[in-house]
């Protein structure tokens, strides 16, 4: 089936990058894998429509963040993450990943999505707004607040982390 072949090609090429994006959104590997699977499944089901999109990668971003924001699975995983002793007890300067993920986990889901899309995926403000279904002003405000929260949470450890 041609559609299946096209989908397979896209999914195979994108899945690991999606996984890392999902990892930043969810904060742990299991939840990230679930999110990628749910996203790919959505894309597969709508593939005839998806494939007409101007930018498949951007469409994938949008589908993933909306899946992340929509789902109660996301909420559950976040709670599970908050409850993880290693996540809660991570020393700010001991492990970069734990520290940053713990700081990210303190952001509301939409603000975290803004951080990942803007600063990791390098989407523009307009592209981020389109992906999240909100205004550019909202993205700017959330981005600014999120940076302030991360700056506060990481504090002096940020510079240690950054220099290391």
């Amino acid at each position: 089936m041609r559609g299946d072949d096209e989908f397979s090609e896209f999914a195979t090429a994108r899945q690991q990058a999606m996984y890392r994006q999902a990892y930043l959104l969810c904060g742990n590997a299991d939840a990230a894998q679930d999110l990628v699977q749910a996203t790919l499944l959505k894309l597969y089901r709508s593939w005839p429509r998806v494939v007409k999109a101007d930018n498949l990668v951007a469409y994938g971003h949008k589908t993933m963040v909306r899946t992340y924001l929509d789902g109660q699975r996301r909420w559950r995983r976040e709670r599970a993450w908050h409850a993880r002793p290693d996540g809660a007890a991570a020393s700010p300067s001991s492990d970069l990943r734990m520290t940053l993920l713990a700081a990210l986990s303190e952001l509301p889901p939409r603000a975290r999505a803004v951080v990942v899309l803007r600063f990791w995926d390098d989407l523009s403000i307009d592209q981020t707004a389109e992906a999240l279904g909100c205004s550019a002003g909202t993205v700017k405000a959330q981005s600014s607040r999120a940076l302030a929260v991360l700056r506060e949470r990481l504090g002096a450890d940020f510079h240690v982390l950054h220099e290391n």
Binding site: D4, F7, S8, A11, T12, Q15, Q16, Y19, R20, Y23, L24, A29, A32, Q33, V36, Q37, L40, L41, Y44, R45, D70, G71, Q72, R73, W75, R76, L96, R97, L100, L101, V115, V116, R118, F119, W120, D122, L147, L150, R151, L154, F158, L161, H162
Partner: protein
């Protein structure tokens, strides 16, 4: 911290993350199966579209079953925890209704906390769900036709309460459709605390009981008011409830 610095940190945070297994074969298999199911459901719905009755809607109960992941074989239903309705809805044998129940079970499973386990429609019970005493509980929807402008409000100190029972906790929140929803944990007979959430849909009073309606199950799983509201706020559940509410043949009169 600048955006560039944050970008560097994010890059470094995910750099040591190992690749995940190839998900594509799994997604393809699940996707093909899902598309086949969706086509079957669409065909079924089309077949019954012409027989939707326009009778008035009355009291409605409908219930999939929540099964605990760790539960053993289901025990015999306890008389104290069996839903009271005996009459199957007129549409119980309708393939479209069965398909609908399957979709609702899947949506509820997604919307409910994971620890509550697998949600299944009560296919063997044409009407309503029997709940075992050990780990299997009914989920009950109830729809009253009587016009309601808003759900039961949370009690306010010093003012008469809308609720007949002692309210242990209550939370009000607007759903994405703008309607107010209120979630309660109320003290029932035997000291059991029963969770429920309610809202108004097209002027009808919708209540979702977890995990019993007017009964005292021996065990009620833990769920917060916020989680209860999030079930009604879930897009899939909300769409299915809307679909169900306009099918009187799927409801008990």
């Amino acid at each position: 911290m600048s955006g560039t610095e944050l970008r560097e940190l994010l890059d470094r945070a995910v750099a040591p993350v190992d690749d995940m297994p190839d998900l594509v074969p799994r997604v393809l298999a699940a996707g093909r199966s899902s598309v086949r199911r969706r086509r079957a459901v669409t065909t079924g719905l089309g077949a019954v579209a012409g027989v939707v009755a326009t009778v008035g809607v009355a009291n409605v109960v409908w219930g999939p079953v929540v099964e605990w992941p760790s539960a053993g074989p289901a025990a015999s239903p306890s008389p104290s925890s069996v839903s009271s309705s005996e009459t199957p809805p007129p549409g119980a044998d309708d393939p479209a209704f069965r398909a609908f129940k399957g979709r609702m079970a899947a949506a509820l499973e997604d919307a409910l906390p994971a620890r509550l386990g697998v949600v299944r429609s009560a296919a063997s019970a044409p009407g309503y769900t029997a709940a075992s005493a050990q780990g299997t509980f009914p989920i009950t929807f109830r729809l009253d036709p009587w016009g309601m402008a808003q759900p039961t409000r949370c009690p306010v100190e010093g003012q008469p309460s809308d609720s007949d029972a002692a309210v242990v906790s209550c939370l009000e929140q607007r759903l994405p459709n703008g309607q107010l929803a209120s979630a309660f944990h109320e003290l029932a007979s035997g000291g059991t605390v029963l969770p429920r959430v309610e809202t108004v849909i097209d002027g009808k009073w919708l209540q979702l009981y977890l995990f019993a309606y007017q009964e005292s199950p021996r065990k009620v799983p833990s769920i917060t008011d916020r989680q209860l509201i999030s079930v009604l706020a879930d897009r899939k559940v909300a769409a299915l409830v809307q679909e169900w509410s306009v099918h009187p043949e799927w409801q008990i009169g």
